[in-house]
């Protein structure tokens, strides 16, 4: 690559986990590439080896405090395969779905209101002292309260389905350990219409923002890509189950209704020496071209329709923007995410009115197997859980592909696009840093860095010249 300078941004704030960004420059100060280093070591695949399989859905959800339900359910689905439960009882499946929609709802709301809205409401260049959740509470108190109450509702849904709001035990191999009592149902039903109303409002904010800023966003970390998600048999969006569909950037179906039990036939993972996170790719397309995006944007792009009325109308408006072709704007993730929020609210209402949730038949079992795969559409994208279990009921192998891993290449690309547009020379501006984070945050939310959420941006930036010398260093 010749002589390069390296610009390092760390830590990335308002993003889950500990991230660090390196922007590599050539001698002329032009960006050659950008890398998002994920330097956390997860280790779950190793330390659940030897543990009994029924423990796994409860253990692995500790991967995350924001979307633990996704891991809980993906693992439970894999364990359904292990215990031979090929078709759950209606009560079990619908309870799990309700849990999952509650989870999607609260996670998306957290992502949008708590973590992203400061960027959208105040602008990328606003003073960090204002551009945070406290700033939102001060200037838009009604909106902030909505965000809190919407997240609370999702958490209440999780509590009545999983036992508690974070890290519950509801899904067990072959089913669920409780149904929904009439009292629990009524407790949620009384608020559901308000939730749907607020969801409409959140969707409007995201949509209007995208449409109004289309020119800027069209060039903001945007790039063509394939999109992958689960899809229901009839082509509807399904966040809980389905076959794998992948479309290319033009919308052509490359993979469709693929049975995910055989995902290793089509997907492989590459390891790179500068990140602990693997790089999944479609085998047939190779490591260079086989990457794809997952998450709300991909799901709206891959779905033929959404099976709830208001979200379907919203999906059609979304698709109209690109003439029916896939939308490849990184920042359109937020709009897609809010379509899913409305969809989740509609789905929760539909489920709450379903008498199957009061059924007594909770668990089924069949012929024991030694290997199982569970996939689910987690808030941030397709989540893969794969286990092998020995005759003594102990896990011998575990492989997890989390959505952020699938979005590894896309996030790197988004950062690179932003860096190329907004960085020149050696000066690291606040505007550049903000935009790098905004691009990452479109994919991955979470809030590990509470410090920034409260106003101070703890960034350290180093400019390293082609001789490896630090020529500039800036901390805020």
């Amino acid at each position: 690559m010749g002589a390069t300078r390296k610009v390092i941004i760390e830590p990335v704030t308002r993003v889950e986990g500990h991230g660090k960004v390196s922007i590599l420059l050539d001698e002329n100060g032009q960006v050659t590439r950008a890398r998002l280093h994920i330097v956390e070591f997860r280790g779950f695949e190793r330390f659940i080896q030897g543990r009994p399989y029924w423990e796994v859905p409860v253990t692995v959800q500790r991967l995350c405090g924001i979307c633990p339900v996704s891991h809980h359910l993906a693992a439970a689905k894999a364990m359904d395969v292990i215990v031979g439960a090929d078709k759950l009882t209606p009560t079990a499946e619908k309870m799990r779905r309700l849990m999952h929609y509650g989870q999607t709802y609260q996670s998306h709301v957290l992502h949008f209101f708590h973590l992203v809205s400061p960027d959208l409401l105040f602008g990328f260049d606003a003073d960090p002292a204002i551009r945070n959740i406290i700033g939102v509470i001060k200037k838009y108190p009604e909106l902030a309260v909505q965000g809190v109450m919407m997240r609370k509702f999702g958490q209440e849904v999780i509590k009545v389905t999983a036992g508690k709001k974070i890290h519950g035990t509801g899904a067990i191999p072959g089913g669920i350990n409780k149904n929904l009592s009439i009292a629990e149902r009524d407790f949620l039903l009384k608020d559901i219409d308000q939730q749907i109303e607020w969801s409409r409002g959140a969707l409007k904010i995201a949509k209007d923002y995208t449409v109004e800023h289309l020119e800027e966003l069209s060039d903001f970390g945007a790039f063509d890509s394939s999109h992958l998600s689960l899809i229901r048999e009839d082509g509807a969006m399904d966040l809980y189950d389905g076959g794998i569909r992948m479309i290319d950037s033009e919308g052509n179906k490359v993979i469709d209704h693929f049975n995910y039990q055989n995902y290793t036939d089509i997907i492989s993972e590459e390891v790179k020496d500068w990140s602990y996170m693997k790089f999944p790719f479609i085998k047939e397309q190779g490591t260079e071209n086989g990457w794809y995006r997952v998450g709300p944007l991909s799901r709206i792009n891959t779905a033929d329709f959404i099976d709830t009325p208001e979200a379907e109308v919203a999906r059609q408006e979304f698709k109209a923007l690109t003439g029916g072709k896939p939308n490849n704007l990184t920042m359109a993730y937020h709009w897609a995410r809010m379509i899913e929020v409305l969809h989740a609210a509609e789905k929760m209402k539909e489920l709450l009115l379903d008498e199957d949730l009061q059924g007594e038949d909770l668990v089924v079992k069949g012929e024991r197997r030694s290997e199982g795969v569970g996939l689910i559409e987690a808030p941030r994208g397709t989540l893969f859980h794969h286990y092998k279990v020995n005759e003594d009921d102990q896990v011998t192998m575990c492989n997890l592909i989390v959505s952020t891993t699938s979005n590894n290449v896309p996030m790197n690309l988004a950062v690179e696009k932003v860096a190329k547009k907004y960085l020149s020379g050696t000066e690291i501006t606040e505007g550049l840093l903000n935009r790098v984070e905004v691009a990452i945050r479109a994919y991955d939310p979470c809030l590990s860095c509470a410090t920034h959420a409260l106003g101070k941006m703890p960034l350290t930036v180093s400019v390293v010249d082609h001789n490896g010398q630090v020529v500039d260093k800036k901390s805020t």
Binding site: G50, E55, T59, I172, K178, D392, D393, Q394
Partner: protein
């Protein structure tokens, strides 16, 4: 009760039958004394010392000390609560007790006692000792990480099941429950219906494929602290 023995626990006069232990008499009177190794169906053992009370100003194990006329027993004092908490904390740091995902959570006597005693985080350093699991039996799962060496399995197998499946081996920090076989648990005559399996107070001996079947909120200690069943007797007698 002409030959009843009268004594006091924390100043409350109790009547007991000669030969009863302090714990037995207290239980009948609806007074809960914390315990881990003691079990109502097993002979007094006195190993965990969590039931330590002051008898005429001397520490004694309530589960083994017989009652005698006029004895003055102190149980609910701050000093004893601290001693009991220390003992429970030591058990927590010696084993690998991960309550957040342990399937015994909510039904575990060690966890419940920690809550009852107001234990927050152990003040002793975790030892992170390495322990084995034995999953060889088709219906029973053994996790030595969670064993507190209370000997309930050892005693239940002998006293109640008429078997001799479990036994202690090793000394000090190396002490562990071993099985009466040359290889593993599957090679013993243990059965999943044995009292030895049922009487484990923690998540060390488990029935396979029953985990998390009871939802959070309906587990033994979700809504009331350990000992509430004993204390309910006192309320019922009033």
């Amino acid at each position: 009760m002409s030959d009843a023995i009268k004594f006091t626990i924390d100043g409350v006069e109790i009547e007991a039958i000669p030969g009863q232990t302090i714990m037995e008499a207290a239980d009948e009177a609806g007074i809960y004394i914390p315990r881990l190794c003691a079990h109502k169906d097993l002979l007094p053992f006195g190993s965990c010392r969590v039931c330590t009370v002051m008898v005429n100003d001397r520490p004694q194990a309530a589960c083994t000390q017989p009652v005698s006329p006029g004895m003055s027993v102190e149980s609910e004092t701050e000093e004893l609560r601290q001693i009991r908490t220390n003992l429970v904390e030591m058990l927590f740091v010696e084993g690998n007790h991960y309550c957040p995902f342990c399937e015994k959570s909510g039904n575990c006597e060690l966890q419940a006692l920690g809550y009852r005693l107001g234990m927050l985080a152990p003040k002793y350093p975790y030892m992170f000792n390495k322990h084995d699991v034995d999953a060889s039996h088709p219906d029973i799962y053994i996790d030595h990480n969670r064993c507190i060496l209370c000997a309930r399995c050892v005693r239940s197998s002998k006293e109640l099941d008429g078997k001799n499946v479990f036994q202690f081996v090793g000394r000090g920090i190396h002490k562990k429950v071993a099985f009466n076989s040359d290889t593993d648990l599957a090679a013993t005559n243990v059965s999943v219906t044995d009292k030895a399996i049922e009487n484990c107070p923690v998540g060390a001996i488990l029935k396979k494929r029953t985990a998390y079947a009871v939802p959070i909120g309906k587990r033994t200690y979700d809504s009331q602290p350990i000992g509430s069943d004993i204390e309910a007797r006192k309320a019922a007698a009033k």
